[in-house]
Amino acid sequence: MERISGADAVIRSLQEEGVEVIFGYPGGAVLHIYDALFRQNQVRHILTRHEQAATHMADGYARSTGRPGVVLVTSGPGATNAITGIATAYMDSIPMIVLSGQVQSHLIGTDSFQETDMVGISRPIVKHSFLLKKAEDIATAIKKAFVIATSGRPGPVVIDIPKDITSPTDLIDFEYPDTVDIRSYNPASKGHSGQIRKAISMVMEAERPIIYAGGGVIQGEGCQLLTRLTRTLGYPITNTLMGLGAFPGTDPQFLGMLGMHGTYEANMAMHHSDLILAIGARFDDRVTNTVSLFCPTAKIVHVDVDPASISKNVAVDVPIVGDVTQVLEEMNQLVDAQISERTEGQKSALADWWSQIEGWRGQECLKIIREESDKQIKPQEAVQAAYEVSGGGAYVTSDVGQHQMFAALYHPFDEPRKWINSGGLGTMGFGLPAAMGVQMAYPDEQVICITGEGSIQMNIQELSTCLQYSLPIKIINVNNQALGMVKQWQDMQYEGRHAHSYMESLPDFVALVEAYGHVGFRIESVDDLEPVMKEAFALKDRLVFLDILVDPEEHVYPMAVSPNGAMRDMWLRKGVRT
């Protein structure tokens, strides 16, 4: 058996897991581990400029590839800086391994330099965590961490490693386990066949059905099966913010996103449906509006890998706990066998349902209204231009706010894992580092970061990392010179009192990105939008920052009426509601 140090055991374990890249920032408590990293060349380390960005990069890497993202930070401030990124991953069920340095074992609990109780601080935002006691435990803990992070409902796992157990002078026997037994951890795998049969008989008999699919379908690699099922049934489908791309966004059966800023047709179809087939979605408050008014005529089938997600917010009629792929496979088999038995009455009910939906769709809730002579760019047009110029197949990350909703509504996604945003936690500062993680995973693919002048400044220091690693991301800065979503709420609910939602001393972004060694363009006229964007995208090997000045008065519509609104209650334009 090999005799190696604890630090080498950490890196060897990552190698054994097939980790190709980790994101991190060195410091005292992890110096032994960094030295072990230096003495090998299998695991690539990306030096970020802030630990929060390191976690978002690992997150973007994980969301785009499906493989866990790995982060290495030091103790104390290194660990606490990682917290926002861990919470972001936790809320969206993203597999992530965070290795944090800890002070030496004998100093734990003494308020020593750069000490923080990382396991304690991170406890509510991790799927699990380990505080290691001895070097011999490293390999098993890392193996367990990867198993836990990537199975069942995925999530982040923290491994806190005291410096002394990584000492280069203390050697241990190293053997990486092929499997680990965690007797108390048995994530659901197979959905109950009886429940699936019951669900499908309800699905087949429904007259006004809708499929409501979320990020779980993407995480569980069930998108092709979902698409097949939806097409065989011929039913309308809506995706959550996290589920965009699970079903092709340009397909006529797709009604767009649902929820607070969902399309008119998606929310109306949900409200008036008689059956909701919910798959890998969690009835989030940003979807349901007022729970007691949620979809009053609908029976609900809910498929989820996490039993705790079922009947948490909305009571469901048929719960199915299981792996989405297996459940969808069984559902497809049943539907394939039964579809030909559909009666004329059922066919005509479905046709009536579609004609009602087409009526809602005819409202064109996303239509952009502009005067021909007005040259000011609408934020929606910035998103549309990015879609057109990129050809629609790019990876798109976003930050949080109006631009995020515009991206979700105006950039259709035909494939899963192409749309990457912080849905659950809503983390500003996510977009750029997430895009970097994606670009690391796919060096030859087009990666776009749609952001705003507020969000981008929350992790703008990473422009330096982008230069170091030559990441040719295209940053679309939808610049309305305000914290747009905050301002929108202030317009709608606080009589336009814009308390601290303005940015009064914005930097010259073009000069700023040039100072970081990149290319910047400023676009102010709608006539320049596509030409300049084309020029930017033609610079294949450079990061280009497009500072696009947009109409600051624009709101995101539709918008749910709240409080006390149902899904059908929406603001459609300024002052116009359903």
Partner: protein, 163 residues
């Protein structure tokens, strides 16, 4: 409705804090909590009492089950069960009250486990309601100190919580 949840937990550092943290994080209440290792030293058995309707208790048990260190759990109140709590009460006793207090303790099958010239310490086991009733019956006495263990319990009959 009051519920008694019995949980088998890995006997590891930090496991208890995850359980307690979950209750705080998700805004569930803990009325009593008692925990100790079982005959198998790798496992602790934790009993907690809480209040909630069926839906809240379903969420609590599901969320508890998601904790990696929770091996198994049962809601004892779903079936017939034995519940016991231990209480020690220290009472200031004047000569005129001593006989009465002893009689009351006897009625509740309590034992006087420490005696001084001016105090009795009474040990009582039973359900929460019984212990509450005993405190009520001591209304005229001066209670100096009360310590209660929190409820523990087991299902009746063949049903067990074990791995």
């Amino acid at each position: 409705m009051r519920r008694i949840l019995s949980v088998l937990l890995e006997n590891e550092a930090g496991a208890l804090s995850r359980v307690v943290g979950l209750f705080a994080q998700r805004n569930y209440n803990i009325e009593t909590l008692t925990v100790a290792p079982t005959e198998d030293q790798t496992l602790s058995r934790l009993t907690l009492t809480t209040h909630g309707d069926d839906r809240e208790i379903e969420q609590i048990t599901k969320q508890l089950n998601k904790l990696i260190e929770v091996v198994k759990l049962v809601d004892l109140t779903e079936g017939s069960h034995v519940e016991r709590e231990l209480m020690l009460v220290k009472i200031r006793t004047s000569n005129s009250q001593r006989a009465e207090i002893k009689r009351t303790a006897d009625i509740f099958r309590g034992q006087i486990v420490d005696v001084t010239g001016s105090t009795y310490t009474i040990q009582l086991t039973g359900t929460k309601d019984k212990l509450d009733a005993f405190i009520g019956a001591l209304a005229d006495a001066v209670i100096m100190e009360v310590v209660r263990s929190g409820s523990s319990g087991l299902s009746r009959g063949e049903k067990v919580l074990a791995i």
